[in-house]
Amino acid sequence: MANTASSFSGLVKRPALGGESLKEPRVAKIESRSLCFYYGESQALHEISMTIPERSVTALIGPSGCGKSTFLRTLNRMNDIVEGARHSGSVLLEGQDIYAGDVDVVALRKQVGMVFQKSTPFPKSIFDNVAYGPRIGGLRDKEKLREIVESSLKRAALWKEVQDRLHDSALALSGGQQQRLCIARALATGPDVLLMDEPASALDPASTARIEDLIFELKEAYTIVIVTHNMQQAARVSDFTAFFLKGVMVEIGDTEQIFTNPKEKQTQDYITGRFG
Protein backbone atom coordinates (compact mmCIF):
# COMPACT_ATOMS: atom_id res chain seq x y z
CA MET A 1 0.00 0.00 0.00
CA ALA A 2 1.55 3.29 -0.98
CA ASN A 3 0.79 5.65 1.84
CA THR A 4 3.85 7.38 0.72
CA ALA A 5 5.52 10.52 1.76
CA SER A 6 7.45 10.14 -1.47
CA SER A 7 4.53 11.04 -3.68
CA PHE A 8 4.19 14.16 -1.63
CA SER A 9 7.79 15.18 -1.00
CA GLY A 10 7.92 16.87 -4.36
CA LEU A 11 5.10 19.16 -3.30
CA VAL A 12 6.92 20.61 -0.36
CA LYS A 13 9.76 21.85 -2.47
CA ARG A 14 7.50 23.09 -5.17
CA PRO A 15 7.12 26.83 -5.54
CA ALA A 16 3.70 28.25 -6.23
CA LEU A 17 1.12 26.10 -7.91
CA GLY A 18 -0.07 27.06 -11.31
CA GLY A 19 -2.76 29.71 -11.23
CA GLU A 20 -2.23 30.42 -7.53
CA SER A 21 -1.53 33.81 -6.10
CA LEU A 22 0.93 32.47 -3.58
CA LYS A 23 4.50 33.34 -4.29
CA GLU A 24 6.48 31.71 -1.49
CA PRO A 25 7.20 28.00 -1.39
CA ARG A 26 4.94 25.76 0.62
CA VAL A 27 6.01 25.33 4.21
CA ALA A 28 4.79 22.33 6.16
CA LYS A 29 2.32 23.37 8.87
CA ILE A 30 1.24 19.98 10.10
CA GLU A 31 3.01 16.72 9.72
CA SER A 32 1.87 13.31 10.86
CA ARG A 33 4.44 10.56 11.23
CA SER A 34 3.38 6.93 11.24
CA LEU A 35 0.22 7.88 13.06
CA CYS A 36 -1.85 4.90 14.18
CA PHE A 37 -5.08 5.41 16.03
CA TYR A 38 -7.23 2.98 17.97
CA TYR A 39 -10.72 3.07 19.43
CA GLY A 40 -10.34 0.39 22.08
CA GLU A 41 -9.33 -2.72 20.18
CA SER A 42 -10.22 -1.59 16.69
CA GLN A 43 -7.60 0.28 14.74
CA ALA A 44 -9.01 3.28 12.89
CA LEU A 45 -5.81 4.67 11.36
CA HIS A 46 -2.84 2.75 10.01
CA GLU A 47 0.54 4.45 9.77
CA ILE A 48 -0.60 7.77 8.41
CA SER A 49 2.33 9.88 7.28
CA MET A 50 1.51 13.08 5.51
CA THR A 51 2.36 16.74 5.38
CA ILE A 52 -0.12 19.58 5.31
CA PRO A 53 1.33 22.77 3.86
CA GLU A 54 0.46 26.11 5.41
CA ARG A 55 -1.94 28.62 3.89
CA SER A 56 -3.57 26.08 1.67
CA VAL A 57 -6.62 23.87 1.62
CA THR A 58 -6.05 20.16 2.03
CA ALA A 59 -9.07 17.97 1.37
CA LEU A 60 -9.48 14.53 2.91
CA ILE A 61 -11.73 12.30 0.81
CA GLY A 62 -12.80 8.69 1.02
CA PRO A 63 -15.84 6.52 1.71
CA SER A 64 -17.65 6.56 5.06
CA GLY A 65 -15.68 4.95 7.85
CA CYS A 66 -12.35 5.34 6.07
CA GLY A 67 -10.82 7.26 8.96
CA LYS A 68 -10.68 10.72 7.44
CA SER A 69 -12.72 12.31 10.24
CA THR A 70 -10.73 10.40 12.83
CA PHE A 71 -7.54 11.74 11.30
CA LEU A 72 -8.96 15.28 11.31
CA ARG A 73 -9.81 14.94 14.99
CA THR A 74 -6.32 13.81 15.90
CA LEU A 75 -5.05 17.17 14.65
CA ASN A 76 -6.65 19.09 17.54
CA ARG A 77 -6.84 16.12 19.89
CA MET A 78 -10.64 16.06 19.88
CA ASN A 79 -10.30 12.29 19.97
CA ASP A 80 -8.95 12.57 23.50
CA ILE A 81 -12.49 12.78 24.83
CA VAL A 82 -13.39 9.38 23.39
CA GLU A 83 -13.01 6.72 26.05
CA GLY A 84 -10.49 4.03 25.15
CA ALA A 85 -8.87 6.06 22.37
CA ARG A 86 -5.11 5.74 21.99
CA HIS A 87 -2.51 6.37 19.35
CA SER A 88 1.05 5.77 18.31
CA GLY A 89 3.27 7.84 16.09
CA SER A 90 3.26 11.60 16.21
CA VAL A 91 1.57 14.71 14.88
CA LEU A 92 3.77 17.75 14.52
CA LEU A 93 2.37 21.25 14.44
CA GLU A 94 5.09 23.63 13.33
CA GLY A 95 7.58 20.95 14.24
CA GLN A 96 6.25 20.41 17.75
CA ASP A 97 4.62 17.14 18.74
CA ILE A 98 1.08 17.97 19.86
CA TYR A 99 0.84 14.68 21.75
CA ALA A 100 3.90 15.46 23.85
CA GLY A 101 3.31 15.39 27.60
CA ASP A 102 3.76 19.10 28.17
CA VAL A 103 1.33 20.26 25.48
CA ASP A 104 -1.66 22.24 26.76
CA VAL A 105 -4.67 20.82 24.93
CA VAL A 106 -6.68 23.97 25.60
CA ALA A 107 -4.02 26.13 23.95
CA LEU A 108 -3.73 23.65 21.08
CA ARG A 109 -7.46 23.79 20.37
CA LYS A 110 -7.32 27.58 20.31
CA GLN A 111 -4.59 27.43 17.70
CA VAL A 112 -6.28 24.66 15.74
CA GLY A 113 -9.92 25.64 15.34
CA MET A 114 -12.63 23.23 14.30
CA VAL A 115 -15.93 23.46 12.45
CA PHE A 116 -18.31 20.53 12.63
CA GLN A 117 -20.67 18.95 10.14
CA LYS A 118 -23.75 19.93 12.09
CA SER A 119 -23.68 23.60 12.91
CA THR A 120 -23.96 23.86 16.66
CA PRO A 121 -24.54 27.42 17.75
CA PHE A 122 -24.75 27.72 21.52
CA PRO A 123 -28.24 28.68 22.69
CA LYS A 124 -27.04 32.23 23.22
CA SER A 125 -26.95 35.47 21.26
CA ILE A 126 -24.86 35.82 18.09
CA PHE A 127 -22.45 38.07 19.95
CA ASP A 128 -22.06 35.69 22.88
CA ASN A 129 -21.45 32.78 20.51
CA VAL A 130 -18.50 34.49 18.86
CA ALA A 131 -17.22 35.96 22.13
CA TYR A 132 -17.35 32.56 23.86
CA GLY A 133 -13.82 31.48 22.99
CA PRO A 134 -12.10 34.72 23.97
CA ARG A 135 -14.21 34.96 27.13
CA ILE A 136 -13.36 31.51 28.43
CA GLY A 137 -9.77 32.43 27.60
CA GLY A 138 -10.15 35.13 30.22
CA LEU A 139 -10.75 38.22 28.07
CA ARG A 140 -13.09 40.62 29.90
CA ASP A 141 -12.41 43.92 28.11
CA LYS A 142 -15.73 44.77 26.44
CA GLU A 143 -14.21 46.97 23.75
CA LYS A 144 -11.70 44.28 22.74
CA LEU A 145 -14.42 41.61 22.72
CA ARG A 146 -16.54 43.80 20.45
CA GLU A 147 -13.59 44.24 18.09
CA ILE A 148 -12.90 40.51 17.97
CA VAL A 149 -16.54 39.69 17.35
CA GLU A 150 -16.75 42.22 14.54
CA SER A 151 -13.54 41.15 12.81
CA SER A 152 -14.39 37.44 13.17
CA LEU A 153 -17.84 37.93 11.72
CA LYS A 154 -16.37 39.97 8.89
CA ARG A 155 -13.86 37.26 8.08
CA ALA A 156 -16.63 34.69 8.09
CA ALA A 157 -18.62 36.91 5.68
CA LEU A 158 -21.50 37.16 8.11
CA TRP A 159 -21.10 40.67 9.49
CA LYS A 160 -23.33 42.44 6.99
CA GLU A 161 -26.20 40.06 7.63
CA VAL A 162 -26.11 40.17 11.40
CA GLN A 163 -24.60 43.50 12.43
CA ASP A 164 -28.02 44.88 13.39
CA ARG A 165 -29.04 41.91 15.47
CA LEU A 166 -25.94 40.80 17.29
CA HIS A 167 -27.91 40.24 20.46
CA ASP A 168 -30.61 38.08 18.91
CA SER A 169 -30.51 34.34 19.45
CA ALA A 170 -28.07 32.54 17.18
CA LEU A 171 -30.66 29.80 16.74
CA ALA A 172 -32.81 32.19 14.71
CA LEU A 173 -30.22 32.21 11.91
CA SER A 174 -30.59 30.07 8.79
CA GLY A 175 -28.57 26.86 8.44
CA GLY A 176 -25.93 28.45 6.23
CA GLN A 177 -25.65 31.47 8.48
CA GLN A 178 -25.32 29.22 11.51
CA GLN A 179 -22.44 27.39 9.87
CA ARG A 180 -20.70 30.67 9.04
CA LEU A 181 -21.31 31.73 12.64
CA CYS A 182 -19.54 28.57 13.76
CA ILE A 183 -16.63 29.49 11.49
CA ALA A 184 -16.59 33.01 12.96
CA ARG A 185 -16.67 31.50 16.43
CA ALA A 186 -13.68 29.32 15.60
CA LEU A 187 -11.81 32.31 14.12
CA ALA A 188 -12.40 34.38 17.25
CA THR A 189 -9.92 32.37 19.32
CA GLY A 190 -7.20 33.40 16.87
CA PRO A 191 -6.27 30.06 15.32
CA ASP A 192 -3.97 29.59 12.35
CA VAL A 193 -5.28 26.18 11.40
CA LEU A 194 -8.96 25.44 10.66
CA LEU A 195 -10.27 21.90 10.62
CA MET A 196 -13.58 21.45 8.85
CA ASP A 197 -15.54 18.24 9.14
CA GLU A 198 -17.94 18.20 6.20
CA PRO A 199 -18.86 21.82 6.83
CA ALA A 200 -21.36 22.08 4.00
CA SER A 201 -22.91 18.64 3.88
CA ALA A 202 -26.12 19.74 5.58
CA LEU A 203 -26.56 22.93 3.57
CA ASP A 204 -28.42 23.89 0.41
CA PRO A 205 -26.40 24.61 -2.77
CA ALA A 206 -26.45 28.38 -2.36
CA SER A 207 -25.20 28.22 1.22
CA THR A 208 -22.63 25.63 0.20
CA ALA A 209 -21.31 27.98 -2.45
CA ARG A 210 -20.95 30.74 0.12
CA ILE A 211 -19.02 28.45 2.46
CA GLU A 212 -16.76 27.40 -0.40
CA ASP A 213 -16.08 31.01 -1.36
CA LEU A 214 -15.31 31.67 2.27
CA ILE A 215 -12.85 28.77 2.42
CA PHE A 216 -11.14 30.13 -0.65
CA GLU A 217 -10.74 33.54 1.01
CA LEU A 218 -9.67 32.14 4.36
CA LYS A 219 -6.77 30.16 2.97
CA GLU A 220 -4.91 33.42 2.44
CA ALA A 221 -4.39 33.51 6.17
CA TYR A 222 -5.18 30.06 7.47
CA THR A 223 -4.15 26.48 6.93
CA ILE A 224 -7.36 24.60 6.22
CA VAL A 225 -7.99 20.88 6.37
CA ILE A 226 -11.40 19.86 5.14
CA VAL A 227 -13.13 16.50 5.22
CA THR A 228 -15.70 16.14 2.51
CA HIS A 229 -17.89 13.52 0.92
CA ASN A 230 -18.49 15.72 -2.04
CA MET A 231 -15.74 15.22 -4.59
CA GLN A 232 -16.73 18.20 -6.68
CA GLN A 233 -16.32 20.24 -3.55
CA ALA A 234 -12.87 18.80 -2.90
CA ALA A 235 -11.93 19.57 -6.49
CA ARG A 236 -13.29 23.11 -6.25
CA VAL A 237 -11.84 24.30 -2.97
CA SER A 238 -8.68 22.35 -2.25
CA ASP A 239 -5.07 22.65 -3.31
CA PHE A 240 -4.15 19.18 -2.12
CA THR A 241 -6.20 16.07 -1.75
CA ALA A 242 -5.57 12.98 0.31
CA PHE A 243 -7.54 9.80 -0.35
CA PHE A 244 -8.29 7.56 2.62
CA LEU A 245 -9.51 3.98 2.49
CA LYS A 246 -10.08 1.64 5.45
CA GLY A 247 -7.88 3.64 7.77
CA VAL A 248 -5.02 3.90 5.29
CA MET A 249 -4.01 6.97 3.38
CA VAL A 250 -3.78 5.64 -0.13
CA GLU A 251 -2.58 8.70 -1.94
CA ILE A 252 -1.93 12.39 -1.51
CA GLY A 253 -1.04 14.97 -4.09
CA ASP A 254 -2.10 18.06 -5.97
CA THR A 255 -5.85 18.13 -6.22
CA GLU A 256 -5.61 18.42 -9.97
CA GLN A 257 -3.33 15.43 -10.21
CA ILE A 258 -5.47 13.29 -7.87
CA PHE A 259 -8.60 14.00 -9.86
CA THR A 260 -7.13 13.77 -13.34
CA ASN A 261 -4.26 11.37 -13.05
CA PRO A 262 -4.30 9.36 -9.80
CA LYS A 263 -1.37 7.07 -9.27
CA GLU A 264 -3.26 4.40 -7.37
CA LYS A 265 -5.99 2.27 -8.87
CA GLN A 266 -8.10 2.48 -5.70
CA THR A 267 -8.10 6.26 -5.93
CA GLN A 268 -9.16 6.12 -9.51
CA ASP A 269 -11.93 3.66 -8.74
CA TYR A 270 -13.26 5.89 -5.99
CA ILE A 271 -13.06 9.08 -7.99
CA THR A 272 -14.72 7.59 -11.02
CA GLY A 273 -17.50 6.34 -8.76
CA ARG A 274 -16.84 2.64 -8.99
CA PHE A 275 -17.36 2.32 -5.21
CA GLY A 276 -17.97 4.42 -2.11
Binding site: I81, E83, M114, F116, F122, P123, K124, T189
Partner: protein, 356 residues
Protein backbone atom coordinates in the same frame (compact mmCIF):
# COMPACT_ATOMS: atom_id res chain seq x y z
CA UNK B 1 -65.93 -13.00 3.64
CA UNK B 2 -67.91 -10.46 1.78
CA UNK B 3 -66.64 -7.01 1.20
CA UNK B 4 -68.59 -4.01 2.34
CA UNK B 5 -69.30 -2.03 -0.75
CA UNK B 6 -69.61 1.24 1.15
CA UNK B 7 -66.07 1.14 2.37
CA UNK B 8 -64.57 0.20 -0.94
CA UNK B 9 -66.29 2.97 -2.80
CA UNK B 10 -65.45 5.43 -0.07
CA UNK B 11 -61.78 4.69 -0.08
CA UNK B 12 -61.67 4.86 -3.83
CA UNK B 13 -61.32 2.48 -6.71
CA UNK B 14 -57.57 2.28 -6.26
CA UNK B 15 -57.95 0.11 -3.15
CA UNK B 16 -57.42 -3.37 -4.54
CA UNK B 17 -59.28 -5.49 -2.02
CA UNK B 18 -61.44 -5.31 1.04
CA UNK B 19 -58.62 -6.79 3.08
CA UNK B 20 -56.76 -3.54 3.24
CA UNK B 21 -59.72 -1.49 4.31
CA UNK B 22 -60.77 -3.99 6.94
CA UNK B 23 -57.29 -3.98 8.47
CA UNK B 24 -57.40 -0.25 8.59
CA UNK B 25 -60.74 -0.24 10.28
CA UNK B 26 -59.58 -2.70 12.93
CA UNK B 27 -56.64 -0.48 13.63
CA UNK B 28 -58.92 2.49 13.99
CA UNK B 29 -61.12 0.68 16.47
CA UNK B 30 -58.20 -0.43 18.57
CA UNK B 31 -56.71 3.00 18.61
CA UNK B 32 -60.08 4.49 19.58
CA UNK B 33 -60.43 1.99 22.40
CA UNK B 34 -56.94 2.70 23.68
CA UNK B 35 -57.41 6.45 23.56
CA UNK B 36 -60.71 6.00 25.39
CA UNK B 37 -59.10 3.94 28.13
CA UNK B 38 -56.34 6.48 28.59
CA UNK B 39 -58.88 9.27 28.77
CA UNK B 40 -60.89 7.33 31.35
CA UNK B 41 -57.77 6.82 33.44
CA UNK B 42 -57.05 10.54 33.38
CA UNK B 43 -60.61 11.51 34.29
CA UNK B 44 -60.74 8.92 37.04
CA UNK B 45 -57.68 10.32 38.80
CA UNK B 46 -58.83 13.89 38.32
CA UNK B 47 -62.29 13.05 39.66
CA UNK B 48 -60.84 11.51 42.81
CA UNK B 49 -58.59 14.49 43.29
CA UNK B 50 -61.53 16.86 42.91
CA UNK B 51 -63.63 14.88 45.41
CA UNK B 52 -60.77 15.00 47.90
CA UNK B 53 -60.15 18.69 47.40
CA UNK B 54 -63.83 19.59 47.67
CA UNK B 55 -64.31 17.50 50.81
CA UNK B 56 -61.26 18.94 52.52
CA UNK B 57 -61.96 22.50 51.47
CA UNK B 58 -65.55 22.23 52.62
CA UNK B 59 -64.45 21.03 56.03
CA UNK B 60 -61.93 23.81 56.34
CA UNK B 61 -64.39 26.62 55.67
CA UNK B 62 -64.70 28.80 58.72
CA UNK B 63 -61.58 27.31 60.24
CA UNK B 64 -58.95 28.41 57.77
CA UNK B 65 -58.42 32.03 58.74
CA UNK B 66 -55.64 34.41 59.68
CA UNK B 67 -55.82 33.28 63.30
CA UNK B 68 -55.18 29.68 62.15
CA UNK B 69 -52.11 30.69 60.19
CA UNK B 70 -50.57 32.84 62.94
CA UNK B 71 -51.28 30.84 66.12
CA UNK B 72 -49.52 27.98 67.75
CA UNK B 73 -51.27 24.77 68.54
CA UNK B 74 -53.78 24.39 71.34
CA UNK B 75 -54.34 21.08 73.02
CA UNK B 76 -57.76 21.88 74.39
CA UNK B 77 -59.41 24.51 72.24
CA UNK B 78 -59.80 23.70 68.52
CA UNK B 79 -60.84 27.31 67.91
CA UNK B 80 -57.49 28.53 69.17
CA UNK B 81 -55.36 25.91 67.45
CA UNK B 82 -53.10 27.18 64.70
CA UNK B 83 -50.50 25.78 62.33
CA UNK B 84 -47.73 28.34 62.82
CA UNK B 85 -45.29 25.89 64.43
CA UNK B 86 -45.76 23.37 61.61
CA UNK B 87 -45.62 26.05 58.95
CA UNK B 88 -42.33 27.49 60.17
CA UNK B 89 -40.99 24.04 60.98
CA UNK B 90 -41.72 22.84 57.45
CA UNK B 91 -40.22 26.02 56.00
CA UNK B 92 -36.97 25.47 57.91
CA UNK B 93 -36.79 21.75 57.20
CA UNK B 94 -37.59 22.03 53.49
CA UNK B 95 -35.37 25.08 53.05
CA UNK B 96 -32.40 23.25 54.52
CA UNK B 97 -33.28 20.07 52.63
CA UNK B 98 -33.10 21.96 49.34
CA UNK B 99 -29.86 23.57 50.44
CA UNK B 100 -28.27 20.15 51.00
CA UNK B 101 -29.96 18.00 48.39
CA UNK B 102 -29.68 20.24 45.31
CA UNK B 103 -25.94 21.00 45.29
CA UNK B 104 -24.99 17.48 46.35
CA UNK B 105 -27.47 15.87 43.96
CA UNK B 106 -26.50 17.98 40.96
CA UNK B 107 -22.82 17.58 41.81
CA UNK B 108 -23.16 13.81 41.99
CA UNK B 109 -25.04 13.74 38.69
CA UNK B 110 -22.35 15.87 37.01
CA UNK B 111 -19.66 13.57 38.32
CA UNK B 112 -21.45 10.42 37.19
CA UNK B 113 -22.34 11.77 33.74
CA UNK B 114 -19.39 13.96 32.85
CA UNK B 115 -16.35 12.67 34.70
CA UNK B 116 -16.84 9.10 35.92
CA UNK B 117 -15.32 6.42 33.75
CA UNK B 118 -17.25 3.29 32.93
CA UNK B 119 -15.86 0.94 35.57
CA UNK B 120 -17.62 -1.57 37.84
CA UNK B 121 -17.79 0.79 40.81
CA UNK B 122 -19.54 3.53 38.89
CA UNK B 123 -21.86 1.04 37.26
CA UNK B 124 -22.72 -0.27 40.72
CA UNK B 125 -23.42 3.27 41.95
CA UNK B 126 -25.64 4.05 38.96
CA UNK B 127 -27.57 0.83 39.39
CA UNK B 128 -28.14 1.35 43.09
CA UNK B 129 -29.35 4.92 42.73
CA UNK B 130 -32.55 3.54 41.29
CA UNK B 131 -32.79 1.08 44.17
CA UNK B 132 -32.25 3.85 46.71
CA UNK B 133 -35.09 5.84 45.18
CA UNK B 134 -37.38 2.97 46.04
CA UNK B 135 -36.30 2.47 49.67
CA UNK B 136 -39.24 3.05 52.09
CA UNK B 137 -38.95 6.38 53.86
CA UNK B 138 -39.14 4.80 57.32
CA UNK B 139 -35.75 3.22 56.62
CA UNK B 140 -34.34 6.67 56.02
CA UNK B 141 -35.90 7.64 59.34
CA UNK B 142 -33.97 4.92 61.15
CA UNK B 143 -30.80 5.96 59.32
CA UNK B 144 -31.35 9.59 60.30
CA UNK B 145 -31.96 8.62 63.90
CA UNK B 146 -28.67 6.75 64.11
CA UNK B 147 -26.49 9.04 62.05
CA UNK B 148 -27.75 12.55 62.77
CA UNK B 149 -29.85 12.41 65.93
CA UNK B 150 -27.55 10.12 67.91
CA UNK B 151 -24.36 10.24 65.81
CA UNK B 152 -23.66 6.61 66.65
CA UNK B 153 -23.43 7.55 70.32
CA UNK B 154 -20.04 9.10 69.67
CA UNK B 155 -20.46 12.41 71.52
CA UNK B 156 -22.11 13.41 74.76
CA UNK B 157 -21.50 12.72 78.44
CA UNK B 158 -21.40 8.92 78.10
CA UNK B 159 -20.31 8.76 74.47
CA UNK B 160 -17.61 6.66 72.87
CA UNK B 161 -15.37 9.71 72.65
CA UNK B 162 -15.56 10.21 76.45
CA UNK B 163 -14.99 6.57 77.26
CA UNK B 164 -11.97 6.30 74.99
CA UNK B 165 -10.25 9.63 75.54
CA UNK B 166 -11.85 11.26 78.53
CA UNK B 167 -12.85 14.29 76.44
CA UNK B 168 -16.39 15.44 76.66
CA UNK B 169 -17.67 17.28 73.62
CA UNK B 170 -21.27 18.42 73.79
CA UNK B 171 -21.36 20.95 71.03
CA UNK B 172 -19.99 24.17 69.59
CA UNK B 173 -20.74 27.86 70.21
CA UNK B 174 -22.02 28.16 73.77
CA UNK B 175 -24.74 30.76 73.92
CA UNK B 176 -25.22 32.70 77.15
CA UNK B 177 -28.55 33.92 75.87
CA UNK B 178 -30.00 30.44 75.39
CA UNK B 179 -27.87 28.75 78.06
CA UNK B 180 -27.03 25.95 75.60
CA UNK B 181 -24.79 25.11 72.65
CA UNK B 182 -25.96 26.63 69.37
CA UNK B 183 -24.70 23.52 67.55
CA UNK B 184 -25.16 20.59 69.91
CA UNK B 185 -23.42 17.27 69.42
CA UNK B 186 -25.04 14.92 68.72
CA UNK B 187 -27.62 17.01 66.87
CA UNK B 188 -30.56 15.45 68.68
CA UNK B 189 -34.17 15.64 67.55
CA UNK B 190 -33.74 18.90 65.71
CA UNK B 191 -34.55 20.61 62.40
CA UNK B 192 -31.07 19.85 61.07
CA UNK B 193 -31.44 16.11 61.63
CA UNK B 194 -34.79 16.17 59.84
CA UNK B 195 -33.45 18.21 56.94
CA UNK B 196 -30.39 15.99 56.46
CA UNK B 197 -32.56 12.88 56.58
CA UNK B 198 -35.02 14.27 54.04
CA UNK B 199 -32.10 15.39 51.89
CA UNK B 200 -30.84 11.79 51.82
CA UNK B 201 -34.36 10.67 51.03
CA UNK B 202 -34.75 12.86 47.95
CA UNK B 203 -31.13 12.69 46.76
CA UNK B 204 -31.68 9.64 44.51
CA UNK B 205 -34.62 11.35 42.81
CA UNK B 206 -32.64 14.54 42.29
CA UNK B 207 -29.56 12.68 41.04
CA UNK B 208 -31.45 10.47 38.61
CA UNK B 209 -33.44 13.37 37.16
CA UNK B 210 -30.30 15.50 36.86
CA UNK B 211 -28.42 12.65 35.19
CA UNK B 212 -31.18 12.33 32.63
CA UNK B 213 -31.18 16.07 32.06
CA UNK B 214 -27.41 16.06 31.49
CA UNK B 215 -27.63 13.06 29.20
CA UNK B 216 -30.21 14.84 27.05
CA UNK B 217 -27.73 17.59 26.14
CA UNK B 218 -26.42 16.78 22.65
CA UNK B 219 -22.77 15.75 22.50
CA UNK B 220 -22.30 18.24 19.67
CA UNK B 221 -22.74 21.10 22.14
CA UNK B 222 -19.98 19.75 24.35
CA UNK B 223 -17.70 19.12 21.37
CA UNK B 224 -18.26 22.61 20.01
CA UNK B 225 -17.28 24.11 23.34
CA UNK B 226 -14.25 21.85 23.81
CA UNK B 227 -13.07 22.55 20.27
CA UNK B 228 -12.99 26.26 21.10
CA UNK B 229 -10.43 25.58 23.80
CA UNK B 230 -12.82 25.40 26.73
CA UNK B 231 -11.81 23.15 29.57
CA UNK B 232 -14.15 20.41 30.68
CA UNK B 233 -15.29 22.46 33.65
CA UNK B 234 -15.89 25.57 31.51
CA UNK B 235 -17.94 23.46 29.11
CA UNK B 236 -20.07 22.15 31.97
CA UNK B 237 -20.38 25.52 33.65
CA UNK B 238 -21.24 27.59 30.57
CA UNK B 239 -23.00 25.16 28.24
CA UNK B 240 -24.12 21.87 29.76
CA UNK B 241 -25.44 23.06 33.11
CA UNK B 242 -27.50 26.02 31.85
CA UNK B 243 -29.01 23.84 29.15
CA UNK B 244 -29.97 21.13 31.60
CA UNK B 245 -31.50 23.33 34.30
CA UNK B 246 -35.09 22.69 33.13
CA UNK B 247 -34.62 18.94 33.56
CA UNK B 248 -32.82 19.34 36.86
CA UNK B 249 -35.63 21.53 38.16
CA UNK B 250 -38.10 18.79 37.34
CA UNK B 251 -36.17 16.44 39.60
CA UNK B 252 -36.02 19.06 42.33
CA UNK B 253 -39.78 19.59 42.07
CA UNK B 254 -40.40 15.88 42.45
CA UNK B 255 -38.01 15.72 45.38
CA UNK B 256 -39.53 18.66 47.24
CA UNK B 257 -43.05 17.39 46.68
CA UNK B 258 -42.04 14.14 48.25
CA UNK B 259 -40.12 15.69 51.14
CA UNK B 260 -42.83 18.16 52.11
CA UNK B 261 -45.42 15.46 52.65
CA UNK B 262 -43.14 13.00 54.44
CA UNK B 263 -44.20 12.12 57.96
CA UNK B 264 -42.79 8.70 58.73
CA UNK B 265 -39.05 9.45 58.80
CA UNK B 266 -39.59 12.60 60.85
CA UNK B 267 -41.76 10.78 63.37
CA UNK B 268 -39.06 8.13 63.50
CA UNK B 269 -36.32 10.54 64.33
CA UNK B 270 -38.46 12.27 66.89
CA UNK B 271 -40.09 15.41 65.57
CA UNK B 272 -42.56 16.63 68.17
CA UNK B 273 -46.28 16.39 67.72
CA UNK B 274 -47.17 19.26 70.00
CA UNK B 275 -44.92 22.28 69.67
CA UNK B 276 -45.65 25.69 71.06
CA UNK B 277 -42.78 27.62 69.52
CA UNK B 278 -41.09 28.21 66.19
CA UNK B 279 -37.52 27.06 65.44
CA UNK B 280 -35.15 29.61 66.99
CA UNK B 281 -38.22 31.34 68.48
CA UNK B 282 -38.49 33.27 65.25
CA UNK B 283 -42.25 33.72 64.89
CA UNK B 284 -42.04 36.67 62.56
CA UNK B 285 -39.63 38.90 60.66
CA UNK B 286 -39.47 41.36 63.54
CA UNK B 287 -38.18 38.54 65.72
CA UNK B 288 -35.38 37.99 63.22
CA UNK B 289 -34.42 41.65 63.52
CA UNK B 290 -34.54 41.58 67.32
CA UNK B 291 -32.47 38.47 67.93
CA UNK B 292 -30.75 37.38 64.72
CA UNK B 293 -28.76 34.73 66.61
CA UNK B 294 -32.03 32.78 66.43
CA UNK B 295 -31.17 32.14 62.77
CA UNK B 296 -28.20 30.05 63.91
CA UNK B 297 -30.17 28.37 66.65
CA UNK B 298 -33.22 27.54 64.54
CA UNK B 299 -31.68 24.61 62.64
CA UNK B 300 -30.75 23.06 65.99
CA UNK B 301 -34.10 23.57 67.65
CA UNK B 302 -36.74 20.93 68.17
CA UNK B 303 -39.57 21.19 65.70
CA UNK B 304 -42.70 19.84 64.15
CA UNK B 305 -43.84 19.88 60.54
CA UNK B 306 -47.25 20.30 58.97
CA UNK B 307 -48.00 16.67 58.12
CA UNK B 308 -47.21 15.62 61.69
CA UNK B 309 -49.42 18.36 63.10
CA UNK B 310 -52.25 17.35 60.79
CA UNK B 311 -51.85 13.72 61.82
CA UNK B 312 -51.95 14.80 65.44
CA UNK B 313 -55.18 16.75 64.93
CA UNK B 314 -56.87 13.92 63.10
CA UNK B 315 -56.43 11.55 66.03
CA UNK B 316 -57.66 14.00 68.69
CA UNK B 317 -60.86 12.93 70.43
CA UNK B 318 -62.60 16.29 70.09
CA UNK B 319 -64.74 16.33 66.96
CA UNK B 320 -63.82 19.90 65.96
CA UNK B 321 -60.15 19.04 65.49
CA UNK B 322 -61.26 17.31 62.28
CA UNK B 323 -61.91 20.77 60.82
CA UNK B 324 -58.59 22.05 62.09
CA UNK B 325 -56.93 19.14 60.29
CA UNK B 326 -58.81 19.98 57.10
CA UNK B 327 -57.59 23.57 57.31
CA UNK B 328 -54.06 22.26 57.81
CA UNK B 329 -54.33 20.05 54.74
CA UNK B 330 -55.45 22.99 52.63
CA UNK B 331 -52.46 25.01 53.81
CA UNK B 332 -50.10 22.12 53.09
CA UNK B 333 -51.50 21.68 49.58
CA UNK B 334 -51.32 25.41 48.95
CA UNK B 335 -47.67 25.53 49.96
CA UNK B 336 -46.90 22.51 47.81
CA UNK B 337 -48.55 24.21 44.85
CA UNK B 338 -46.67 27.46 45.44
CA UNK B 339 -43.32 25.66 45.69
CA UNK B 340 -43.97 23.60 42.57
CA UNK B 341 -45.21 26.68 40.76
CA UNK B 342 -42.01 28.50 41.60
CA UNK B 343 -39.90 25.62 40.34
CA UNK B 344 -41.91 25.41 37.12
CA UNK B 345 -41.48 29.16 36.68
CA UNK B 346 -37.71 28.80 36.97
CA UNK B 347 -37.78 25.85 34.58
CA UNK B 348 -39.74 27.75 31.96
CA UNK B 349 -37.56 30.83 32.30
CA UNK B 350 -34.55 28.73 31.37
CA UNK B 351 -36.12 26.55 28.73
CA UNK B 352 -37.34 29.64 26.87
CA UNK B 353 -33.76 30.31 25.83
CA UNK B 354 -33.26 26.78 24.59
CA UNK B 355 -34.57 25.15 21.50
CA UNK B 356 -32.59 22.59 19.64
Amino acid sequence: MTTEPGIVSESGAAVPAAKGSRLKQNGRQESWLFAGLCRAAVWFSIAILIVLLVAVTKNSIGWLDWQFLTSFDSARFPQKAGILAGLLGTAWVIGLTILFAVPIGVGAAIYLEEYATDNWLNRLIRLNLANLAGVPSIVYGILGLTVFVRMFGFFGPQGILYRWTGWELNGFFWSEHYQQYLIPLPFGRVVMSGALTLALLILPVVIIASQEALRAIPASLRHASLALGATRWQTIRHQVLPASIPGIMTGVILGISRAIGETAPLVMLGAMTFVYFAPGNLDSLSDVAQHPEGLIKAPFDTFTVMPIQIFNWVRQSKEEFKYVAAAGIVVLLAILLVLNGLAILIRNRYSKHLHW
